[in-house]
């Protein structure tokens, strides 16, 4: 026995190290993302006074004039880490290189006013109000449309589908749909909701259009497209949850003469419900950060007024994307702040899913 022990222990140690490495890579990438976003979402900024206004921070924006705000402009900005570690050096640089009257201040791009303010051409005064409202609208529409539809489809597949072969074929199709890239769903949304169903999604059919020229590029279209994207995942999750309902409870219910629907209503859904809810929340949380789909459906760059369901709209990932593409540092801070809000939204949704899961476990 003895001589064999050592090599086996060695190979097991190697395997264990590989697994540990994989875990570290996973966690490290996650930490890197969060660290980067936090690092750029706050830090020192050099703000030029009114006499420094000839340096426009938004070269491509025609309305970017600082005298509208009177708060000055961001000339340079530093990351949180830099601000903490090299504060002295930064102060020296500012007084040596930047024009007279430049103030150096610590700024968190993420703040309450950032969340509650609407669009402004001045990066110091702009906010994500419109984008946040747009994203929340889209989540609400996706929940209302995709959850009942997905659960109903899963119930049909699991409980009512008459033929085993048909059930398998449909299940495979749903799995295939779950793997379709979001940009393809974006295209479907564009063709189906924006163009084909334009009269409905623009609100024109209900006399509710918010724009002078009715267009299908509205929150309703984006929300419905998001619902389409999440639908297959909800069907799959609901199927699994329905499958996990104890077969003996199901058999017992049938054995007192219950119909399929009575079994589903009183036993399957109450037991599978929390699990389905948790999975649906996760699917929607995953989708709310998807920029491609919203851009395809036609998100606007700038939304001035609070958008209603039939209004032109924008969404958090789109705004973050647009800001991140800007050359100047202040917009990078804004992009990070917008992403932080998005992350926070996702964390809240995940927490809700966790609560639903723990409830599911308790009732079992």
């Amino acid at each position: 026995m003895r001589p064999q022990m050592r090599p086996r222990a060695r190979s097991s140690a190697v395997v264990r190290a590989l697994f540990a490495f994989a875990t570290v890579v996973t966690l490290a990438s996650l930490t890197a993302v969060v660290a980067h976003v936090v690092n750029t979402a706050a830090g020192l900024v050099a703000v030029g006074g009114p006499d420094a206004s000839d340096r426009s921070p938004i070269p491509d924006s025609p309305v970017a004039t600082s005298d509208q705000t009177g708060e000055g402009e961001v000339i340079a900005s530093w990351t949180l880490l830099e601000s903490l570690v090299r504060r002295r050096q930064i102060e020296r640089e500012v007084s040596a290189l930047l024009p007279e009257g430049t103030r150096l201040e610590f700024r968190s791009w993420l703040s309450l006013s950032f969340v509650t303010r609407g669009y402004s051409p001045n990066p110091l005064r702009t906010g994500i109000r419109g984008a946040l409202i747009g994203s929340v609208w889209m989540v609400a529409i996706a929940v209302v449309v995709a959850v009942p539809t997905g659960v109903a489809a899963a119930i049909y597949l699991e409980e009512f589908c008459p033929r085993d072969l048909l059930r398998k074929a449909m299940r495979e199709s749903v799995h295939l749909l779950a793997g379709v890239p979001s940009v393809v769903y974006g295209l479907i949304g564009l063709v189906l909701f924006v163009r084909f169903l334009g009269p409905l999604t623009s609100g024109a059919a209900f006399g509710a259009t918010a724009t002078r020229v009715p267009t299908g590029r509205t929150i309703v279209s984006a929300g419905l497209t998001l619902a389409l994207l999440t639908l297959p995942r909800i069907v799959i999750a609901a199927e699994q949850a329905i499958n996990a309902v104890e077969p003996r409870v199901r058999l017992a219910a049938f054995s007192v003469g219950a119909t399929r629907w009575q079994v589903v209503r009183d036993h399957v859904l109450p037991q599978a419900g929390p699990e389905i809810g948790a999975a649906a929340i996760l699917a929607i949380a995953r989708a709310v950060g998807d920029a491609a789909i919203v851009i395809m459906v036609g998100a606007s760059t700038v939304v001035i007024a609070d958008p209603g369901p039939f209004a032109a709209f924008t969404a958090l990932p789109v705004v973050a994307y647009q800001w991140a593409m800007r050359p100047d540092a202040s917009y990078r801070g804004l992009a990070s702040a917008a992403l932080l809000v998005l992350l926070l939204l996702v964390v809240v949704l995940n927490a809700a899913a966790a609560v639903a899961r723990s409830r599911a476990r308790r009732t079992r």
């Binding site: 033929r163 085993d164 003996r248 409870v249 058999l251 017992a252 054995s255 007192v256 003469g257 219950a258």
Partner: protein, 274 residues
């Protein structure tokens, strides 16, 4: 396969099977079963595991309808009407032919709702409180649970859960109660209580009891059917007789071997004739 019908009076039989067989994915699990069950009698189905007892039970209340791969052939008659006829409502069949399973399967609801759920479904105007009390009373559980009817049924002991499942079955007023190894997971004391209960219920229902436990069959049943697999691993009904005559004078050598504990699942019909 020939077997004596014992002395069961075909006219008093509530439920009867004729040439009944069940196949899964076209592989027969049990076939050529002809048997009848009368009110006021307990009929035990005995035989080694895999000999088709559960398959027969589930064919009797059309539970196989829920398994897409299962096929039932032959006929099952409830009060003379073939339950597999196209104009018969399978849900009504299952109400009248109730079933209790090996693992206690209370619904994750209150004790009250466990009993009331089925009853509520079938008659809305019923006095549910009375139905629940009567069901629990008849299942010998009322005194133990009357003060905690709103408590979750999952907090009862396994034996109590099993009696609750019987109460639940009684509450929808069946004619036949199928019991599939209902005492298998229970301790001896709980088993004793369930056995007493079966003897009490016997007069009002036709009870069909599948069991691995030969002694239990001897204690509880009026008639016994003995199942065994043949060379093709298909279950067969070997003998159907009154309990006393089967235990003291089995007609088939294989029955005798099984009952006396001399042989178990290695028994086969090879080289023997019934």
């Amino acid at each position: 396969m020939t077997h004596d019908v014992g002395s069961t009076n075909e006219r008093t039989a509530i439920l009867s099977a004729e040439d009944l067989g069940v196949a899964y994915d076209d592989i027969p699990a049990v076939s050529n079963v002809t048997v009848a069950f009368a009110r006021g009698e307990v009929t035990a189905l005995i035989g080694p595991a895999g000999s088709g007892k559960t398959s027969v039970l589930r064919a009797l209340n059309r539970l196989h309808d829920l398994t897409p791969t299962a096929r039932v052939h032959g006929s099952v008659r409830l009060h003379g009407k073939d339950v597999y006829d196209t104009d018969v409502d399978a849900f009504e069949v299952r109400r009248r032919v109730g079933m209790v399973f090996e693992t206690p399967a209370p619904f994750p609801m209150s004790i009250y709702d466990n009993v009331a759920w089925g009853a509520r479904m079938h008659a809305r105007t019923l006095d549910l409180d009375a139905v629940v009390e009567q069901g629990l009373e008849r299942a010998g559980l009322w005194d133990e649970v009357k003060d905690k009817l709103r408590q979750s049924a999952l907090r009862l002991s396994a034996g109590q859960q099993q009696r609750l499942c019987i109460a639940r079955t009684i509450a929808v007023d069946p004619d036949v109660i199928l019991m599939d190894e209902v005492t298998a997971p229970l301790d001896p004391i709980s088993t004793g209580k369930v056995e007493e209960l079966i003897l009490r219920l016997r007069q009002d229902y036709a009870i069909v009891l599948a069991t691995h436990n030969v002694q239990q069959a001897g204690r509880l049943s009026d008639r016994v059917t003995f199942f065994l697999v043949d060379d093709n691993r298909t279950g067969r009904l070997i003998e159907w007789a009154e309990t006393d005559s089967m235990f003291f004078a089995p007609r088939d050598a294989r029955t005798e071997a099984y009952i006396s504990g001399r042989a178990g699942s290695d028994l086969s019909t090879r080289g023997r004739t019934g």
